[in-house]
Amino acid sequence: MSRKASGLKAWIVQRITAIYLAIVIVYLAVHFLSSPPTDYAAWRAWVSQPLISLGLLVFVPVLLAHAWVGLRDALMDYARAFGVRMALLSLSAFVFLASGLWAVRAIILAGLEA
């Protein structure tokens, strides 16, 4: 991961993911400000719409890739000791993996038996 996400490649990944994230975030912000979900049924029905589900499922790995590149860049500047940096990156990788899988699980389950 770290070798693939370094240098020019990471720079490009950061910019392409940024564009997708910006579009989705602005859409979500406008949606939640104009019509916040009123109850569980409405919220689940909204998430389980095919385009919303797909958009959110794509959002998860794209967000994690963007966060990973940014976090790694910051840690390279502030966590100068190799051991500390590796410990923080490993912890982050597990938290990212767990968060991403948990979010994907929730999005897929919302679409089942809806």
Binding site: R15, I25, D39, A41, W43, L64, A67, A74, A103, A110
Partner: protein, 143 residues
């Protein structure tokens, strides 16, 4: 960046490569550091990014809970109505908006738009000031 490159080239030309690898000065008296607007928007881009990273596991947990059933949805709604939840939301909203504006500014600079010093300083001020204003506006819309 360009000034840094110029310094780097200067050092190389003078045969002072050693100075680049030597122990660098560290100045961490935060209250004495005066950042230009471009430096401020940049460090806040990092701070907001780190806050957003910290919110990832929380957001995943809340998403799962809100979709787990009517009870979970009610719990998440109650968290967002609590003052602590609201404070967290405001901080998250600022992080998101600042990161978005600073990021868009960054993308424009990447394609060579607004790289003149005066323009870059103005866009830095605009991005830094616009973020809290947009959060206030969103807050007003929700009331």
């Amino acid at each position: 960046m360009q000034a840094g490159q110029a310094l780097y080239c200067d050092a190389l030309h003078k045969g002072e490569e050693r100075a680049l690898t030597a122990e660098r000065p560290v100045f961490l008296r935060l209250w004495q550091i005066h950042l230009p607007p471009t430096g401020l928007v940049s460090i806040l881009h990092r701070v907001s990014g780190l806050l957003l990273v910290l919110s990832i596991p929380v957001a995943a947990a809340l998403l799962g809970l809100s979709l787990a059933g009517p009870k979970g949805f009610a719990t998440v709604a109650a968290i967002f109505e609590h003052w602590l939840g609201q404070a967290g939301l405001v901080l998250l909203a600022w992080s998101l908006v600042h990161h978005l504006f600073a990021g868009l500014r960054h993308l424009l600079l990447d394609i060579g738009a607004g790289v003149e010093l005066g323009t870059a300083r103005r866009s830095a001020r605009v991005a830094t000031l616009a973020a809290p204003l947009v959060v206030l506006l969103g807050w007003g819309l929700l009331q």
